[in-house]
């Protein structure tokens, strides 16, 4: 009973929230806010319960046939629940943030309805038990994010949304072709049944390799692998909470998570290594990391710089997948969580600067540290984490990546890491310098582009609190990495499941 109850209930929480929000009238702000927060908290509770249950050896799964020989499977395994935990936690914060951010703006019913749907899809992705179910929620994610990107209705927003659709829908089709081909070849593979493909003879290997790359191309668009990343910087026109969620959790992570699932749970790390697929992944990831960092350096606006930084950081996950061995795996999985925490903080900060002071360009940030100290502090934590300064979480990811590279016998990856860290520093440190050390309007030099006084503190508390919370989480994830249920500890647990017999 409880085995099937929890996955369904977790998914139903967001779906029901979406449905009710659509039914509520536009003016019912209080009811909507209550519902949003209630659903978010309830979901965290459900996921936490499943985490506890899983660590005690309970299983949560539900399935029913959709076609002959093909089932809809929801199953909470260690890897999936990790992603589910991340998305439900960040959903809560993003919801709080969005309530503050969109105060008194039009079309909030539509926004929050699709927002809930978007989270439901992310949750479905994390709990999907086979590729078919994964695809269902993956495409649902595409659909539910379109109205969010197009939300403002300006020509720029509409054009960005159209571009986003072109990329993601095509990718969805490519993915579908790959999945159907795999299904035709091997039947319905549940995640974790790695032995199915490993048993294929050498004459099928060419086909398997081809299918693998088709699937990677499909996942690569959402994961924003170069050269499939074009939609992401343009999608920056969306409201800040959308950027935060899209870039930290939902869309790009769904792509990265898909790659993780594909390598570890469908092909299996050893078989992928045997087919020579992992090296290719590592190369693609390295190219993406370096190229996107260079592009980030060239941006003069804050949000596009963060966007290119996302492109580069998400590829650390793919790079970790490409490094054969437990350490690479730990790096990939833990970075999936770490990057989410850090990047969402950064986007919250960027949103706060824009809302409170009207700042969009980096050179407008001079002296903002004095006007908005907490926001700037949070930004600094996120940025230093991204660069990989110990003891913040980013350092852990890079450490495991480096040792993983040695373990996998790919020492050149270390060079990539060093160069990319230097580039990270090159595009983040100037911002920190401007924030804290350059004199700005609060020192009597110039004026803020569009200053508003949104709250008692440096800005509205709806905007401030979630940002502080995520910043705190990302610090704690680094400091308390050795504790049980920390991201690193859980990632190690999953990696052990993969590599220990």
């Amino acid at each position: 009973m409880s085995a099937s109850f929890f996955p369904v209930a977790t998914l139903a929480t967001s779906l029901a929230a979406a449905a009710i929000i659509f039914l509520l009238p536009e003016g019912a702000v209080r009811a909507r806010t209550g519902l949003n927060l209630g659903a978010a908290v309830l979901k965290i509770g459900l996921v936490a319960w499943m985490v506890r249950g899983l660590s005690q050896g309970q299983a949560y799964a539900v399935e029913f046939p959709v076609l002959e020989g093909l089932a809809f499977v929801l199953r909470a395994d260690a890897l999936g629940i990790m992603f589910a935990g991340l998305s439900s936690l960040l959903w809560l914060f993003t919801t709080i943030y969005a309530i503050g951010y969109l105060e008194d703006s039009p079309n909030r019913r539509r926004f929050f309805g699709f927002f809930s749907l978007c989270v439901a899809s992310t949750l479905g992705i994390s709990l999907a038990g086979n590729l078919f179910t994964f695809l269902i929620f993956y495409e649902l994610l595409t659909l539910s994010t379109y109205p969010l990107v197009a939300h403002r209705g300006t020509p720029k927003a509409l054009a960005a949304a159209t571009l986003y659709l072109r990329f993601t829908l095509t990718a969805g089709l490519v993915l579908m072709i790959g999945m159907v081909a795999l299904h035709t070849l091997a039947g319905d593979i549940r995640f974790g049944q790695r032995e199915i493909l490993a048993e294929f003879g050498p004459e099928q290997r060419g086909v398997l390799i081809a299918i693998f790359w088709v699937l990677i191309a499909g996942f690569g668009v959402k994961a924003a692998l170069v050269p499939l990343h074009g939609w992401l910087p343009r999608a920056m026109v969306a409201p800040a909470p959308v950027s935060a969620l899209l870039h930290a959790v939902a869309v790009v992570k769904a792509g990265a998570f898909g790659i993780v699932r594909l390598v570890y749970d469908v092909y299996g790390a050893e078989f992928s290594q045997a087919l020579g697929l992992l090296t290719g992944l590592a190369v693609i990831a390295s190219v993406t990391i370096l190229y996107a960092s260079l592009r980030a350096l060239a941006q003069v606006e804050l949000k596009p710089r963060l966007a290119f930084s996302t492109v580069s950081q998400v590829s650390y996950v793919v790079l970790g997948v490409g490094l054969f061995g437990p350490l690479g795996t730990i790096a990939a999985l833990s970075h999936l969580l770490h990057q989410g925490l850090m990047k969402i903080t950064l986007f919250f900060c960027a949103g706060n600067y824009a809302e409170e002071l009207g700042i969009h360009r980096i050179d407008e940030l001079d002296g903002a540290g004095r006007r908005m100290p907490l926001t700037s502090l949070a930004f600094s934590v996120g940025a230093l984490g991204m660069i990989g300064v110990p003891p913040l979480v980013g350092f852990l990811s890079k450490w495991y990546l480096g040792t993983g590279a040695v373990q996998a016998g790919m020492p050149w990856v270390i060079a990539v890491l060093v160069v990319s860290s230097l580039l990270n520093a090159a595009y983040f440190l100037p911002i920190l310098y401007r924030l804290w050390f350059c004199p700005g309007p609060d020192h009597g030099v110039g004026t803020w582009p569009e200053e508003r006084h949104l709250g008692r503190f440096e800005t509205s508390s709806w905007l401030l609190l979630p940002m502080l919370a995520t910043a705190l989480f990302s610090v704690m994830a680094g400091l308390l990495a050795g504790m049980p249920f920390s991201p690193l500890e859980w990632a190690t647990r999953v990696a052990n499941l993969e590599y220990l017999p």
């Binding site: 959709v66 076609l67 002959e68 039009p106 079309n107 269902i136 929620f137 209705g153 159907v180």
Partner: protein, 482 residues
């Protein structure tokens, strides 16, 4: 000598006509009444479904030395159920349409017997096991459809109706000539008997060519689709819904039945039909993308979506049994999903046009704020048309793709991909127009609640069908797959 099940079947077939005549005399004023009166029909069919799967329902009607054969297998029972559901939705919607669009009373009353006749004709086509009965059903359907299309009475409606009428009449003569040749060569009209004796010689092929020509014309398959779009542009919304959802598909149903029985091995012809389908997908999609009135978008989309059904021919002829099974299920799932979604889409588009008073896409600006429910319905229906999960369109596409890959017919995968992209292009073009925030309008007409609810339910049914597809598909497989 009629068993209870047979009696019930014929009651369910004839009841729509009787109800339609009743409604002619006294048009219904509330959706509740329609739902109550019509709701019994799907229940009856649901009761018949398991019996139909066992193959127990068949027989013949004797009229003056002439026997007409009929049978109800799982496929026809499912199609009957689908017809009754769409009928129910259209009828309920028509009640609201009358209140909102205020057509002349007498004209509105004429809608009902025509609707009843149309549904009777569809029922006859689903159960017919005999070329004569099929002919009668096909003609009744065509004439009722023309009649319904003409109800608005505007000049362009008349012109479109006349064109449709002429095409339909000539199409049925081509069909009759084909039947003539078959009867002359093999001496029987009963499908099972014909299948037993027929040989794939020149006459059979030519007869099939003529039959196919007539049916393609009636099914509006590319390149014989010319009449479809003008007809929809001026028709009433409930009529368009019924027509786009089912009428064109009845001809397809006859087509596939005949080919499967009479020329199952004709691979070249099947390939050609598949190519027609592929071209339909592309051409319909392109035209829908370029169309600038909402109804034209939806109508062109029908032309495109019908193409997917035609892919069944090459996947059925001369392929392995597993491929044929996949394609068979895919096609009927696609048909059902499209029927529900297209009815929903016509109604949602009708609502949008009725509320805004504009028919062009640019008139939709601001609707995402003012008419979110209609727009949402349009979007949900579009999910099925685009074949995005978890809709019936998606599950069907999955099966079709699997069949194409398994049989090595790569071309159809390309068609599926391009078709999906084109569909997305025209659907999101509509949605994009509705997201525009400038040019606010203030004179939106409010519609009865039911008019929003009916299409929403249809669209949700189309999406949900994708997840519970195993239920109808298992019935289909039981009922025998080619």
């Amino acid at each position: 000598m009629m068993s209870a099940a047979n009696l019930l079947l014929w009651l369910a077939l004839v009841a729509p006509l009787l109800l339609g005549l009743l409604a002619w005399w006294r048009p219904p004023r509330h959706m509740r009444g329609v739902a109550l009166a019509g709701g019994v029909l799907p229940l009856a069919t649901l009761w018949l479904l398991p019996r139909a799967g066992e193959g127990a329902l068949h027989g013949s009607l004797s009229l003056a030395g002439l026997s007409l054969h009929w049978r109800l297998d799982a496929l026809s029972a499912l199609l009957l159920l689908l017809t009754q559901l769409v009928l129910l939705a259209s009828a309920a919607y028509a009640v609201g349409h009358r209140r909102a669009a205020l057509p002349p009373e007498a004209t509105h009353a004429r809608f009902w017997p025509l609707l009843g006749g149309l549904v009777l004709a569809l029922g006859l086509i689903w159960v017919a096991a005999d070329l004569l009965l099929l002919y009668a059903g096909l003609e009744l359907m065509g004439l009722c459809a023309v009649g319904m299309m003409l109800l608005p009475g505007k000049a362009e409606a008349i012109r479109a109706g006349l064109r449709y009428l002429l095409y339909a009449l000539v199409g049925s003569l081509a069909w009759l000539l084909g039947v003539t040749l078959l009867l002359g060569a093999w001496g029987t009209l009963e499908l099972a008997g014909l299948a037993a004796v027929v040989e794939p010689d020149v006459t059979t092929r030519i007869a099939m060519a003529l039959l196919t020509g007539g049916l393609l014309l009636k099914a509006a398959i590319f390149p014989l689709h010319g009449w479809l779009v003008p007809v929809h542009s001026s028709a009433w919304t409930p009529v368009s819904a019924m027509h786009g959802a089912l009428v064109v598909k009845a001809s397809f149903f006859i087509l596939i039945t005949l080919w499967r029985l009479l020329l199952p091995e004709a691979e070249t012809a099947a390939g050609a039909l598949g190519l027609l389908g592929g071209s339909a997908v592309l051409w319909g999609g392109l035209k829908a993308w370029r169309a600038d009135s909402l109804k034209q978008v939806v109508a062109w989309s029908t032309v495109g979506q019908l193409g997917y059904l035609m892919l069944l021919f090459p996947l059925l002829a001369g392929t392995a049994a597993s491929v044929a099974t996949l394609a068979w299920q895919a096609t009927w799932l696609q048909l059902a999903g499209h029927a529900l979604a297209k009815a929903a889409m016509f109604m949602a588009a009708g609502n949008l046009m009725l509320s805004t008073g504009a028919s062009r896409l640019s008139g939709l600006a601001g609707t995402s704020r003012r008419l979110p429910l209609s727009l949402m319905t349009f979007g949900i229906a579009a999910v099925t048309l685009m074949g995005l999960p978890p809709s019936a369109g998606f599950t069907a596409k999955w099966l079709l793709m699997q069949a194409s890959l398994q049989s090595g017919q790569w071309l159809w995968v390309v068609v599926l991909v391009l078709g999906t992209l084109l569909t997305a292009a025209y659907v999101f073009r509509v949605l994009r127009c509705s997201f525009v925030e400038e040019a606010p309008r203030h004179d939106f007409q409010t519609l009865p609640r039911g008019m929003d609810l009916v299409p929403l339910l249809l669209a949700l049914a189309a999406v949900g069908l994708g997840l519970v597809a195993e239920w109808p598909l298992s019935l289909l497989r039981q009922g025998g797959v080619p």
